[in-house]
């Protein structure tokens, strides 16, 4: 059974520091170390601080919070790009992520070859790639352009190919940093339907977004984050209400 269990998750990482020729450590340009309490410099950033939640099959989690709250970082920990420094993440099921769907597209290669390469990078087998190829080409509406180099594509064509490739699998657990769409009005409608089918078929979804309409249409649960901490975890409507109340409060305080 697919599930995600996150317990007391913490992630700290060092501020970017590089050894210079003099052997001294110094922060890279434009990024000074933060001054902490007692005037000591803080060399580590706490990106995620003691987050716990658990999701089981059918749950759709919305990750809500202001910019810099740690939403993307949390998704990247769940995906495995970042290793947590404390706590634990237990995941049962295959995790797929839609972060940067344009990653790895090569200008010189044809659309067809790009689908193959992207599939390999995603961990698809040769058989899986072959199986999905025709469907991806059809969905992307590229027609004969599929056998021409990617660099000849218009932006919209490139985006359509990326979208069609990225969404051509049936994920067990799907991580999304913002809802994705692509193309002109017609394609957007198609893309929306495709996303909805995919989301419905997935066992678990974790979606970070600022768009309440999309979250309401997709999610069942909400996790409100601020500065790496979880402020609230529960049913989506309560989470949205909590977030709204909290941002109003923060807004008043800042005035």
């Amino acid at each position: 059974m697919v599930h995600i269990r996150v317990e007391n998750l913490g992630l700290q990482y060092p501020l970017q520091k590089r050894k210079t020729l003099l052997g001294r450590m110094s922060p890279i340009a434009g990024q000074n170390s933060l001054a902490g309490r007692n005037g000591k410099t803080v060399n580590r950033v706490t990106a995620i601080d003691g987050i716990s939640f658990s999701l089981s099959a059918g749950d759709r989690l919305a990750v809500i919070g202001a910019n810099g709250a740690g939403k993307t970082t949390l998704l990247k920990v769940l995906y495995g790009i970042f290793e947590p420094t404390s706590g634990s993440v237990e995941i049962q099921g295959r995790v797929d992520a839609l972060f940067n769907i344009n990653l790895g597209f090569r200008r010189e290669a044809t659309g067809r070859r790009n689908i193959e390469l992207r599939g390999l990078i995603n961990g698809w087998s040769k058989a899986e790639i072959d199986e999905r190829m025709d469907e991806i080409i059809a969905f992307s509406e590229l027609g004969e352009f599929i056998d021409m180099p990617f660099k000849l594509y218009s932006q919209g064509m490139g985006a359509r190919l990326a979208f069609a490739t990225a969404t051509s699998f049936r994920p067990e657990i799907l991580l999304m940093d913002e809802w994705i769409g692509a193309g002109d009005l017609n394609f957007q409608k198609k893309a929306k339907e495709r996303m909805q089918t995919m989301v419905e078929a997935a066992g678990i979804i974790v979606l970070a977004s600022h768009n309440p309409a999309i979250l309401r249409a997709t999610c069942s649960h909400g996790l409100v984050m601020e500065r790496g901490k979880a402020l609230f975890f529960g049913p989506l409507e309560d989470a949205l209400a909590h977030y709204e109340k909290h941002s109003e409060k923060a807004d008043r305080q800042s005035r």
């Binding site: 990482y13 060092p14 970017q16 590089r18 050894k19 210079t20 020729l21 990247k76 995906y79 495995g80 790009i81 970042f82 290793e83 972060f99 940067n100 990653l103 790895g104 090569r106 200008r107 010189e108 290669a109 070859r113 193959e116 390469l117 390999l120 990078i121 040769k126």
Partner: protein, 258 residues
């Protein structure tokens, strides 16, 4: 300590397992670099032949074996620089991938090694041609094959070390570039070690010499350079040990350092 080694080895094993990815990407890389050239892959071979020809023209052919000496030396040397110089920016250059996918780091190392190996294989065709033309067939050549294999096996470890150091010390890029340019002159690729003490010293103490010799000497004299082999075996083992340790230490940290 054991954990570090295990992390390093796990990444290497996982990276090797994703053979399809790095083979495909390396092929694309080599193809892309030649895409707009008229000669295509032939230019890799011609480039090598031109290099040999130019040096031959400049230094003349005083020794009957000089052509082969040069051909084998350049074959190995080109592979060594082609591996070492760009490897400093190996992980830096893959930032988007490292921050966007969960591929093992060793995938990028192997992609890089594969790229150099594909390019070197065109030079190899040229080298075999030159030796055939100049000397004819000999069974001694077979001894050069393990030498070439050993050099290719050393490449991923060297690239791993420099790739990680390049992330930690961005300045290294310029140093390595210059050191490798200089090392070409300090390595007996186009000169013989008979011109005085300095040359002899360089010959003996320059590690690159021995990697060149395990390929070159069998072709020239049908013998196996045991002394050079011993040094190469030890050096490669050392390089791999350091690579595994560094990979284990920085596997998880690299993504934050980029």
């Amino acid at each position: 300590m054991l954990d570090i080694i295990r992390t390093g080895l796990t990444d290497i094993r996982a990276g090797l397992g994703k053979r399809k990815i790095w083979m495909a990407l390396a092929k694309e890389d080599v193809g892309d670099s030649l895409k707009r050239t008229r000669l295509g892959r032939l230019s890799l071979l011609l480039n090598y032949l031109l290099f040999v020809g130019t040096l031959l023209f400049v230094f003349g052919r005083n020794d009957p074996n000089y052509v082969i000496y040069l051909a084998c030396g350049l074959l190995v040397w080109n592979f060594i620089t082609d591996t070492i110089t760009p490897s400093v920016t190996l992980f830096v250059g893959e930032e988007a991938f490292i921050k966007g996918t969960v591929l093992p780091l060793f995938v990028y190392v192997m992609r890089h090694t594969m790229r150099s190996t594909i390019r070197a294989s065109y030079a190899l065709i040229g080298a075999v041609g030159i030796v055939l033309y100049d000397k004819g067939v000999s069974t001694g050549w077979l001894y050069a094959v393990p030498g070439m294999v050993w050099i290719v096996l050393t490449a991923p470890a060297a690239a791993t070390i420099l790739g990680i150091l390049g992330v930690l010390m961005p300045d290294l890029k310029f140093f390595v570039q210059n050191i490798m340019r200089l090392a070409f002159f300090l390595t007996p690729v186009f000169w013989y070690p008979t011109g005085g003490r300095l040359r002899d010293l360089l010959y003996d103490w320059n590690p690159f010499t021995h990697y060149v010799d395990i390929v070159r000497q069998p072709v020239i004299s049908d013998t196996i350079p045991l002394h050079s082999w011993a040094i190469c075996l030890a050096l490669t083992a050392l390089v791999w040990a350091i690579a595994i340790l560094l990979l284990g230490l920085y596997r998880k940290k690299i993504v934050f350092l980029l």
